[in-house]
């Protein structure tokens, strides 16, 4: 579904990603782990076209997408949940969702009612300004908003940050269900536990390079990885 091949990404002059490569197959949940500042978000942004890589290639469903505008990628079926939420502060919750609405390519797709089922808390505050929401509410809204685009590939950057434990569990259930419905997910997480529970495979990124990769079991078994990155 998604192939990232040796991308190099810069912010201005500073070189952040040094040849990151990763693959996500149709229907997989793949997680991207690493310390603060390792380059997880940058990888996500590079895929989404927000910080286009200077070198390397990215293919989505076999088609090269480097240099394409973000809105085109969104229309091709990629949705992105940024780690810092980026809620439209002046729009109400409902409007935040409506603005993101895209017709589903297949089937009925998502609509407001359906995302409210995942996050019932949002329904009660439908008319509240996005900027007034609590941190957790904003996070829910960011995820819900991404779903409204009916993506085939979902880029989730730290979805559980600031969510209460109950909600984290609920979210995990939902992601699992989404995967069953055919959604592909690339997940960047600090909440290692949750990430390990969810994912099929994982990549560990450090200083802008992929350090380890493998199935969850392999990662869990690797002593060094456990010590250095997972701390579990």
């Amino acid at each position: 579904m998604l192939e990232v091949e040796g991308i190099h990404t810069f912010y201005g002059l500073s070189h952040i990603l040094f040849g990151v490569s990763l693959r996500v197959e149709q229907g997989e949940v793949v997680c991207l782990l690493g310390r603060n500042g390792a380059g997880k978000t940058t990888t996500m942004k590079s895929i989404m076209g927000l910080t286009p890589p200077k070198q390397g290639g990215i293919r989505f469903k076999g088609e090269g997408i480097v240099g394409k505008e973000p809105y085109l990628l969104a229309r091709k079926g990629i949705s992105y949940v940024p780690d810092d939420r980026r809620i439209f502060a002046d729009l109400s919750v409902g409007e935040n969702l409506e603005i993101a609405m895209r017709k589903a390519r297949v089937g009925e797709g998502w609509n407001k009612e359906k995302v409210y089922e995942i996050f019932p808390a949002l329904k009660d505050i439908e008319s509240r300004r996005g900027g007034c929401l609590s941190g957790g509410e904003q996070k829910m809204l960011a995820i819900a908003r991404a779903l409204m685009g009916n993506p085939e590939l979902l880029l989730l950057d730290e979805p559980t940050e600031g969510l209460a434990p109950v909600l984290v569990h609920a979210l995990e259930d939902q992601i699992r269900r989404l995967r069953e419905a055919g959604l592909t997910v690339l997940l960047a997480e600090q909440n290692v536990r949750s990430a390990l529970r969810l994912s099929d495979r994982g990549y560990i990124i450090g200083n802008g390079q992929i350090r380890y990769q493998g199935s969850i079991e392999e990662l869990k078994e690797n002593e060094e990885v456990r010590k250095k990155y997972l701390l579990v």
Binding site: M48, E69, Y71, R75, R86, F88, E95, I99, A100
Partner: protein, 309 residues
């Protein structure tokens, strides 16, 4: 309000207020029609402010181009047909200018600091001003409206120009059209979202660039229409841009920046206080707009209606 120094003009004034209700009503109508014209111009400015978040200083220049184009069309075609045609051609011509400017220059700058865009529109104002001079020269121009709209009729015993009645009709028409546009295209919503985070709107699959282009072109269209509408009532000259632009900015500010209905309210405040103002304190006309803004902003620091800024 009394500015003490005015008395030093050396005139002994015997000012008699002889206004009855009919004069007041007439003045109200005049004020309303003025408001409608202001609204048409400022709605465009407000749209651009709200969607692109650009204080478009060149808006006045576009308005001036509208007036000059109306002049050309009216003189070439002549007669009533010329006037009506100018109302269509002038806005379209200005919209075309806007489209070209947007696609060639503006659209590369959206990522920049808003103040950089201010600098850009300033440059645009300088360029357009001189282009108008190159194309149309410096002479005063003047056009006439269709004979249907010439002259005035009596209301409450005072003359009321027919053309002002025409403006009273045009204003609401434009308002309705704008309302349809804004609600049909979700542009209002997108603009409020883009105000916070332009990039994120793109991430949601919305082509911000085209939304902006559309908004900008419609803003230009309105500026052109405003220019064409004012053309028959004034002398069309260079410098029309300067005259209108500050007033237009003040209007959208007191209305609530980027809020189209704010532009309507602001225009009403300006038009009506102005027309009553010149009745009661005609000597102070020059400071009315400023005083109005100061009062409104001190009472409502973010304008009358909800704003994007």
């Amino acid at each position: 309000m009394q500015l003490g120094f005015i008395e030093e003009d050396g005139f002994q004034m015997e000012y008699v207020l002889t206004f009855g209700p009919s004069e007041l009503a007439c003045q109200l109508l005049v004020g309303l029609s003025r408001s409608m014209l202001l609204f048409i111009v400022t709605a465009g400015l407000s749209l651009v402010l709200g969607v692109l978040r650009v204080p478009n200083i060149a808006h006045g220049s576009l308005y001036m181009i509208g007036a000059f184009t109306a002049f050309t069309v009216s003189t070439v075609v002549g007669g009533a047909g010329g006037f009506w045609l100018s109302l269509i051609v002038a806005p379209l011509a200005v919209a075309l200018v806007g489209l070209v400017a947007e696609r060639i220059l503006f659209c590369h700058l959206y990522e920049r600091e808003h103040l950089m865009l201010l600098l850009f529109t300033f440059a645009l104002m300088l360029i357009l001003g001189d282009l108008v001079k190159i194309i149309w020269g410096a002479e005063y121009r003047s056009v006439t409206t269709a004979s249907l709209l010439q002259g005035s009729f009596m209301i409450f015993g005072l003359p009321f120009p027919r053309y002002n009645l025409f403006l009273l009709i045009m204003g609401p028409l434009v308002a309705v059209a704008l309302w349809l546009f804004v609600s049909k295209t979700k542009i209002g919503r997108i603009s409020r979202a883009a105000a916070v985070d332009r990039e994120m709107v793109g991430v949601l699959g919305i082509n911000v660039s085209w939304v902006f282009a559309t908004a900008f072109v419609i803003g230009c269209l309105l500026a052109g229409l405003g220019g064409a509408l004012i053309a028959p009532t004034v002398s069309i000259t260079l410098g029309m841009d300067h005259t209108i632009i500050i007033e237009a900015f003040l209007i959208v500010t007191i209305g609530g920046l980027g809020n189209m209905w704010g532009a309507l309210i602001g225009s009403l405040i300006f038009g009506i206080t102005h027309s009553f103002g010149v009745m009661f304190w005609p000597q102070f006309a020059i400071v009315f707009p400023y005083v109005a803004v100061v009062i409104v902003l001190l009472l409502r620091p973010r304008g009358m209606l909800k704003s994007v800024w």
